[in-house]
Symmetry: C4
Subunit: 234 residues, 4 copies
């Protein structure tokens, strides 16, 4: 069986998504990509996380989206993931979840402001909200069009998918990415904690201020870029 | 011992109800039905979930409600379940719980609006609230009358028990059903998550909008009906 | 070692208090009484629940409060428990905790209204708030005076310690009792869930109504008194 | 290997910090000090708690902040810890976390009021908020300057680091200390519970009152000082 490492990585990160408390039932999926081999790998649709095995992970062509290997049906959200991999060449993993607090912001149709340093460690500013899909974008190619509105947002001036590796799709939930499936999961966990504390912060102070730019820059660059000094890697 | 499969199914789903965090103490019960044999099976009253055994499950006649097999007293909510099975011939399992957030909406006497796609995956619109029981419906045959107000609601134009497999009874809690006990439990878990995120969404945006019909239809039909493409079953 | 059964019962229920999530650190204690032998038994002060052993439980005279058996110092709240046992001859166990949501109501200095049937299953009406202690009641014999304001409340017309087996002490937390330590713990768990759902219900509907008397009576008498039909005991 | 006891203590308390639910990912760190040997010990940067070993703990000179022993890079927050040890000679352990509810108060830029007796058991009054760092304090020596604003607050009239062993840094999170790492962790757990109940108390009563001084003194002195009578130690 080819793609064994990719399968194991994606399988394990899907399980870790559930263990991190970001999903109930089967409301979420993790994918990964192997750009050299030209494939992406994703969770099969509707399979419970604790029963997921590497052999159940579905392998698809990065170019055409056709199944290359796998007996199970791929996640229904596969076309969204595929488009993100096609359009964002520097990402290696994607997490889609309906994690409780991030979903609340998506349902409230509000971006998540950057109110604290933990948020700033992972996201260089607010986590934005895409536009709503139009009726014709819902009725046909819904999942690919979900990817399209994400890319549309990121292509506009304000979006920066490397510095703010997540968006909220309104009335739906977050899509989060990173250099690898594990990095995407880390961002998804940070997003959920940021979403949770931001909500409760507003209950205490409805005028809570976002981080000043200088503090935002300080925390983000502690962990990212050539001058990072957080963690053990250089 | 007859009805062994039904007993095991109902026992296991009652345990899974507790493991899913939907009950505290003994505040909830799952039942199942075998229409060919003309019986329903339900949790015994007041028994702790982790001590529940298949042999403790009580078997009753679907027609008369009389106990067919079982040494323990059936759940006090049995007459509610019985009436639902009698009136809704296509359901195979029922979950009654006092899960925290669904109960809050029942206590607030508000229906749960459909604010997100996860809700729409399971419920084709808001989860409704029945009317309150009248004094004479409380003093005698209380539990059967609880079933009666549910059926009364579902019989009216707006109720659709196949597309919205749950109701809230005011100041009480949710009743949820499905094709099987496991399907009812899945709906109960989705209901609780929908109730939770809807509450917190309103804290962020008291004017949060329900899903437009086209998006509601899209998500519900992804998982239900002849054009469903979610999961592994065809 | 005498009082072995009482020690084991009280030890186990203290551990169960922690397992039920009602305490953090060592913020709570369970006691029990053996009226025939004229003693009460209580958790030692400041000992962690998972390290508690039956031999660590302190036995005191029900009449004088003097230690009868035990090498450890009794909980600092012992004088409160003692007075409650002396004044309420029909109770067999007491739980004092700072469980999160019950504490919020105590800190808000509001009684917990009866908004749902789960609350009504355990408490025949709102869970009341005692008066604040006076300065001279705080500076000397603080813990015994805490018991005194509880008894003072219960002795007044509205208090009914058999039908509403809990009170909140303002800015402090709940005291809960029952026929046995286990029954007191069950009431403490029900209180916490009632406190939690009541808070969130008010966020959804600040005018949420209490249960009508007829529904309150129905649920309370399903579980209590000579016509009870909940559970397996007759 | 020297400093073995200190390493084990700090390692174990970092693990306990995660087990207590006060951190997600690697958002927190515990340190300890050995003043006789002139060193402090702290978590390595970015290492997961459940993979932490005593040998990974970094030992630094209390005087110069230089690494004395250890192959890993010390926590990026080390300069904050170091300054606190240098300026507060009676503390033996420090916990820095981004625990959910304490962080909400920090993000709301509000001190945590003392609304209940559990808070008063650990903190002799509100848990204060330091001033914000100035731009020039962020751009260079950020972590040491974080310590500086804490010490600046504590040096002013109102601060009392022995009686109120915690502060919030605005838009960031809490720093908590104690006589030992374990004592600091106990204070951090109490802080989080106080922060949580204070938030929910304000949802029930936006005018909830702080404890009167006499009750505050009573509870704090039950656990601290020469007349303490809580716990097993004299």
């Amino acid at each position: 069986m080819k793609f064994q490492e990719l399968r194991q990585d994606v399988c394990q990160t899907n399980r870790a998504l559930a263990e991190a408390g970001l999903v109930r039932l089967t409301f979420g999926n993790v994918s990964g990509v192997d750009r050299q081999q030209g494939v992406m790998a994703i969770k099969p649709s509707g399979v419970e996380y604790n029963q997921l095995q590497p052999k159940g992970i579905v392998i698809l062509s990065l170019e055409t989206g056709e199944v290359v290997e796998g007996d199970l049906r791929a996640s229904s959200d596969t076309p969204t993931h595929l488009l993100l991999y096609q359009e964002l060449p520097y990402i290696g993993g994607i997490v889609h979840s309906h994690s409780t607090y991030a979903t609340c912001w998506a349902q409230a149709q509000r971006q998540i402001p950057c109110l604290g340093t933990t948020h700033a460690d992972h996201f260089h500013g607010p986590v934005p909200l895409t536009r709503q899909l139009k009726p014709e974008e819902i009725t046909s190619n819904y999942e690919r069009n979900t990817g399209k509105v994400i890319i549309e947002y990121l292509s506009a001036e304000e979006g920066n998918p490397e510095q703010i590796p997540a968006v909220l799709v309104p009335q739906h939930g977050p899509f989060v990415w990173g250099k690898s499936p594990a990095a995407a999961l880390e961002n998804a966990i940070a997003l959920e904690e940021g979403a949770r504390t931001a909500l409760d912060t507003f209950l205490l102070n409805s005028h809570a201020e976002q981080l000043p730019t200088i503090l935002l820059n300080k925390h983000f660059t502690r962990k990212h870029g050539c001058n990072a000094y957080y963690g053990q890697e250089d």
